[in-house]
Symmetry: C2
Subunit: 403 residues, 2 copies
C-alpha cells in the first residue's frame, strides 16, 4: 500500500507527540521521551499527511482552522430539477463524504480509495447562496446578496455568485484534487460547476509556523486578523443576533478575486510601495513601527509635516475606528497561466468570514473603494457572497438547521 | 523579516543533520546528539523551505533531483528579433537568476525579494527546441523534432513544441510562482509564452519519503525508474555518443500532456483496472507479485491458461526486452478547472529524460500505441521535445557549450 495506514502505525508516536504537528513542541516531546529512557530511541516524525481536522462540531471546519497550503473554492449552480428534497439528499451525501475524506477515509463510493489515505488537514466548508436558501424555503440573512457595486470593481460574472459553495483545503494538492473530484461526483446530478478558483500559500514547513502569508506583491498580507477563541471572534465571526435562527453557529463568506497588476507594481520603487500599504516590505511593520504586530501610530508626522502612514495607504483605509468592523481573513494567492503577451495572471483570492457582511465587510470595502492607493495596482474581478451554515453533529448534515 | 535567514540560523543543525531532509535518518542523528550529551537538547526541525539543490554542475538540476511537489513547465517562442547574440544575453541572465533563486537569493533585479527567501529545493531546468538550436548555429541531436504521430494522439498544438523550455520545480507553490515571474520577466523582450503547464505531487512530508507517486487514476505510477548514479543512468540519461558534442552531460526531454478520462475510468471495476495496468491498485505490485518492486512474471498463467499479467496491460506494453529502451520518468499530476458540464479536467504531465529519444522513448510509445488497454482511458493531447544542454560552471551559462 502507498502509505500503509500511517495513522495507525504511528499511533504510539501520536500519543507521545500529542498528535501535534512537527515543530519545537513535538521535538521537545521527543527529548522528554529520550530523557526518560535509558537508551535513545529513534522516533520518526509524524507525517504531515496523517494530520486531521475534526469535521463534526458546532461550527464548520476550514474557518478557524489554521489555513492549509492549498485551496480549491467551487461554486455550483443547482439544476432546475433539484428541489428541496433533492437538495437534502445532496447535502447528506456531501456531508458524509466530506467527513470521511477529512479523516483519511475513502468516500462512500470512492473510485480511487488509495488517494484518500493522506488527509493532510483536509477541510470542506459548505456555503449557501440566496437561490439555495430560497429553494430550501428558509429565511436568508439580510446580507445574503451580491455586494454593492464598488467603483474599483471590474467584475466578470464568470467569477461571481452561485448556489452552493465548496471550500476544499488541505496541505497537499493531491488530497485537494481527490476530494474535489469525489464531491463533484456527488453533486453532478444536482447541479453544474459555475466556477473553480484555486489558490496556494506557503507549503507546510516552508517557513515558521505562524508566519503571516505574503501575497504576490511581496507584501505581508493579513497581519491584523482575528484570533479564534477570543470573545470578539465569537461575536463577530460566529454570532450575529440579526441572522436567522438556522444560521446560529454559522457565518458569512466573501470571496473577492483580486487581479494584481504585477507589471505596474514593479514600476513602483520600494518607498512608493511601502507608502501605498503603510507597512514595510521587509517585515510588514507599520511605517511607524519596528515589528509586524506593532500598533500603527496614525498621528505620527514626518519632518515636513506629512503623516508617516499616508492618508491614502491601505493600512489606514482598511482600518476602522469601529471595532465591530472587523473580519476574519483567510485568503490565498493565485497564479494562473499568463495568456497572450502577458507575463503573469496573478492575484489574490481574498476570502473573509464575518457574521454580518453588511455591518463588517461592506464599510471596510467602501473606505478602500473611496481612497486607497493600492487600487492603482489591484482590480476586483470576481465577487461572491455565501451564508455558511453551522456545523453539524455526527449523523446530521450541513444545512440540517435550514431544511 | 519573514524568515530571518533561517538557513544561516540553522547552520549548526544543518551540520548535525547533514543538511538532510527530516526523516528517519535525521531523527537518528538527533538521537546520536542526545546520546552524546548529558542532557537532552531541543533540536528544531530544519524548515523544508531552507533546503537547496546546487545549481551549477556537470548536469542541470531538476533531472536527477528527487521530484519536488510543485512544477510549472513553460515553453517560450523566441521573438523574430531575437538573434544569436540576444539569445546568449538571455541565457546569461536566466542562468544567473535561476542560480540565485535556487539558493534562496533574490534575482538580480528582483522586484519582490522577500518572496525569494524560501528556496524549498527550487530547481530550474532549461531546454532548447530545434528553432533555438538552429538560431544558435548548432547541430541538433537527430531526435530533436516532434515525435512521430501515434494513433492514440489527439494533439492540441496549444500544448506542443516551443523554442525554449523552463521546468521550474520546488516544494512550495509560492516559490515556484515567484521564480516563474522573475524568469518570465527576464525573457519578455526575447520571446512570448507559448504554453504553461502546472502540476503537483504529494506535498513534502505527506507520505513517506521515497513513496512512488500515484496518478489521479489512483495508480502507483513510476515504479520502474532509473536510480541516479548507476552505470545505466549515466549511459541512458546523460550519455549518448550520437549526440553532438555540445550536448555532453545533457539529455533529451519529452513532455506528453495526457488527459485522463476519470469518468470513464470510474465505470471500470477494480479487477478490470488492475488488469489494464498489470499491477494491483493497493500497492502497485505486479499481478504476479506481492510488493511494488517485485519483478513481474510475464510467463505466469491463470488456472484457465491466460497470462496473469495480460498481454494488453500497460506494464507489459511499456516494458522492453531491450534494456537500453529505458527512460527516467519525472511526471506530475494536473487538475485544472472543469469546464461546461464536466466533473474533471485532469491528467498527467508525463515527463521523461533520456539521452536518445528515438532509441529509448519512441519504441516504448510505439508498443503502447499499438496495444495498451490503458489507451481506452487516456489521451495524449500535448507533446513536446527539447534538448537539455549540460549544466555549467559558476560564471558560465546554460547553453555555453552551444553558443
Amino acid at each position: 500500500m502507498l502509505v500503509d495506514q500511517p495513522g495507525r502505525r504511528l499511533s504510539r508516536r501520536h500519543l507521545l507527540l500529542g498528535g501535534a504537528a512537527a515543530g519545537i513542541g513535538a521535538v521537545g516531546a521527543v527529548g522528554i521521551e529520550l530523557a526518560t529512557n535509558a537508551r535513545p530511541q529513534v522516533v520518526a516524525q509524524p507525517l504531515n499527511g496523517t494530520q486531521t481536522v475534526p469535521f463534526y462540531g458546532v461550527h464548520q471546519a476550514g474557518i478557524d482552522t489554521v489555513p492549509q497550503s492549498n485551496a480549491t473554492i467551487i461554486a455550483l449552480d443547482l439544476a432546475p430539477t433539484t428541489d428541496a428534497a433533492a437538495l437534502r439528499r445532496l447535502m447528506k451525501v456531501l456531508t458524509s463524504d466530506a467527513a470521511r475524506l477529512s479523516q483519511g477515509e475513502a468516500a462512500l463510493a470512492d473510485s480511487e480509495p488509495e488517494l484518500a489515505v493522506a488527509p493532510a488537514r483536509l477541510t470542506v466548508t459548505f456555503g449557501f447562496g440566496p437561490g439555495l436558501v430560497a429553494l430550501a424555503g428558509g429565511t436568508a440573512p439580510t446580507w445574503l446578496r451580491p455586494l454593492p457595486a464598488f467603483g474599483v470593481d471590474r467584475l466578470d460574472p464568470a467569477w461571481g455568485d452561485g448556489d452552493l459553495l465548496l471550500q476544499i483545503a488541505a496541505d497537499d494538492a493531491l488530497t485537494v484534487a481527490h476530494a474535489t473530484r469525489m464531491l463533484l461526483k456527488d453533486s453532478r446530478s444536482f447541479g453544474t460547476v459555475r466556477w473553480v478558483q484555486t489558490g496556494f500559500r506557503r507549503a507546510p514547513g516552508s517557513v515558521k509556523t505562524g508566519t503571516t502569508m505574503r501575497n504576490l506583491f511581496g507584501q505581508v498580507d493579513g497581519t491584523v486578523n482575528f484570533v479564534p477563541g477570543t470573545p470578539d471572534f465569537e461575536r463577530l465571526v460566529w454570532g450575529a443576533a440579526s441572522n436567522p435562527g438556522w444560521m446560529l453557529g454559522g457565518t458569512g463568506f466573501v470571496l473577492r478575486r483580486i487581479a494584481m497588476g504585477l507589471d505596474k507594481w514593479d514600476k513602483l520603487d520600494r518607498s512608493g510601495r511601502e507608502a501605498s500599504v503603510g507597512r514595510t516590505l521587509s517585515n510588514g511593520a507599520p511605517l511607524t513601527g519596528t515589528n509586524e504586530t506593532d500598533a500603527p501610530d496614525f498621528a505620527a508626522k514626518t519632518a515636513i509635516g506629512f503623516p508617516v502612514i499616508p492618508e491614502f495607504s491601505h493600512l489606514r483605509r482598511a482600518r476602522s475606528e469601529n471595532p465591530d468592523e472587523r473580519i476574519l481573513r483567510r485568503g490565498y494567492n493565485y497564479d494562473d497561466a499568463p495568456t497572450g503577451g502577458s507575463v503573469s495572471n496573478s492575484g489574490l483570492l481574498f476570502v473573509s468570514f464575518q457574521a454580518d457582511i453588511d455591518a463588517q465587510f461592506v464599510p471596510i470595502q467602501r473606505r478602500i473603494d473611496a481612497l486607497d492607493l493600492l487600487n492603482v495596482w489591484i482590480t476586483p474581478i470576481g465577487s461572491a457572497v455565501f451564508a455558511i451554515p453551522p456545523g453539524c453533529a455526527t449523523g446530521g448534515y450541513i444545512g440540517d438547521t435550514l431544511f
